[in-house]
């Protein structure tokens, strides 16, 4: 009886340690028409995939899919729903914890991120900004018919992060347009074995709840920041000064 209980316990633990690695795929529709599909799979110790357009051209393009949806382009919106990591502080020194938008505004762990809530950066920082990686730009990850997606989280043994990720469409100024379906997944480090899996469809038409979106984006801008009035005044002042010196 005792050994049977022990065996069940061990099997349960193994079940927790090994996650299912089943890929997911879902269609993206706009105005009653399929414009493409999202496919996501495990990839080494992380997950990768993308949104591939099926309209435009030929060949199909991301731009054609965006136009059909009445928007400018696509990105992802990702939140960390739970994590065992503690003492998290963003690049600005603000403490944060789950649930939170990934990446936090301004970035985390020395990695630069823009101040929009979308997964890939919508704009570049000033030249020479520490921690900027062009591989996280939306423009780098939008090629031809595909918007890529990838994530390879990390943490010491015993770490577990859970995520929810949605495809999001944006206007030209990077402001929100609409959500187009999503998935949840998790990443673990069990005694040094890193793995991602348990990728689950969130279901057609399932958009982030208020707690998963509105309540989390307070620190973020809603669109690409425009030059401030002060910057404009300074620029005008400098111009006038230079013109007067030339006269």
């Amino acid at each position: 009886m005792g050994s049977k209980c022990l065996r069940i316990a061990v099997l349960s633990l193994l079940g927790c340690a090994s996650m299912s690695a089943v890929p997911i795929m879902f269609d993206v529709n706009c105005a009653g028409m399929k414009v493409g599909s999202v496919s996501i799979d495990t990839s080494g110790t992380g997950i990768s995939g993308g949104f591939t357009s099926t309209i435009g051209g030929p060949p199909p393009t991301q731009a054609a899919a965006a136009a059909k949806c009445g928007e400018d382009h696509f990105n992802w919106y990702q939140i960390v729903t739970a994590t065992t990591a503690v003492g998290l502080v963003d690049n600005a020194g603000r403490p944060f914890g789950a649930p939170f938008v990934d990446p936090p505004a301004g970035g985390f762990g020395g990695q630069w991120a823009d101040n929009l809530p979308w997964y890939f950066d919508e704009y570049r920082p000033p030249a020479g900004t520490a921690g900027f990686n062009p591989n996280f730009l939306t423009s780098t990850n939008t090629v031809g018919d595909t918007l890529s997606y990838f994530d390879f989280p990390g943490g010491p043994p015993g770490t577990r992060h859970t995520f929810k990720t949605w495809l999001v469409s944006l206007n030209a100024d990077s402001s929100f347009h609409s959500f187009h379906g999503g998935f949840s997944w998790e990443w673990t480090n069990v005694a040094g074995t890193r793995s991602a899996g348990n990728i689950q469809l969130l279901g057609a038409g399932i958009v982030p709840t208020r707690a998963e979106y509105n309540d989390l984006i307070g620190n973020f801008a809603t669109k690409i920041p425009e030059p401030s009035m002060l910057s404009l005044l300074l620029a005008c002042g400098t111009l006038v000064y230079l013109m007067r010196r030339r006269l």
């Binding site: 993308g50 985390f108 990686n133 591989n135 996280f136 990390g154 943490g155 010491p156 770490t159």
Partner: protein, 179 residues
């Protein structure tokens, strides 16, 4: 593959080639960044070392590396412009790599490469992309006929350039110069 080439061309800030005695001895660190459309191109590239004819035109470096490794010991003719290609461990976005100067002792070449390792240090990462360093190091021209050994030592350090050792891996290969 176009995207892979584009990504490889992007300077990451982790490219820290160190200058050797002259320009021909400069080691170049190529960063092969994961392409979500072809993740296995980077994920499955085996760690190791190969020697290629650098003058020979051909496909991407990673493909030439795979091909040279699959051929085993290779013979080159005297005067060929040879280069070492060394693929390192899978690294994370914050990691950095620095190749040190190529050392020669008789018919044995040794290249040391130092790198940080977010993985080995258990760094907490959320948004992250993995990449693999591919080192390209020119060998001296006009090597005398004979059999040579190339050894590449990868040292994972807790900080560059002289942090504590976390892990050490050594790879080697041999090639022959014929008349």
């Amino acid at each position: 593959m176009k995207m892979a080439a584009r990504r490889s061309a992007l300077a990451l800030g982790c490219l820290l080639p160190l200058i050797g005695q002259n320009a021909s001895e400069t080691a170049v660190v190529h960063s092969l960044v994961l392409d979500a459309k072809h993740p296995q191109a980077v994920l499955s590239l085996p760690e190791g070392v190969a020697v290629i004819d650098a003058q020979q035109a051909g496909s991407e470096l990673s493909e030439r590396y795979r091909e040279a490794r699959s051929r085993g010991e290779i013979k080159y003719t005297h005067g060929a412009r040879l280069a070492i290609l060394a693929a390192g461990p899978l690294l994370d976005q914050p990691d950095q790599v620095a190749a040190r100067m190529l050392q020669r002792r008789g018919r044995r070449f040794t290249l040391e490469v130092a790198h940080t390792s977010a993985r080995l240090q258990g760094t907490v990462l959320f948004r992250n992309v993995v990449w693999r360093p591919l080192i390209q190091q020119a060998l001296p021209q006009r090597l005398a006929a004979g059999r040579y050994q190339v050894e590449v030592v990868w040292r994972a350090l807790d900080a560059l350039p002289n942090g504590g050792l976390l892990e050490k891996k050594t790879f080697s290969t041999v090639f022959e110069i014929t008349r």
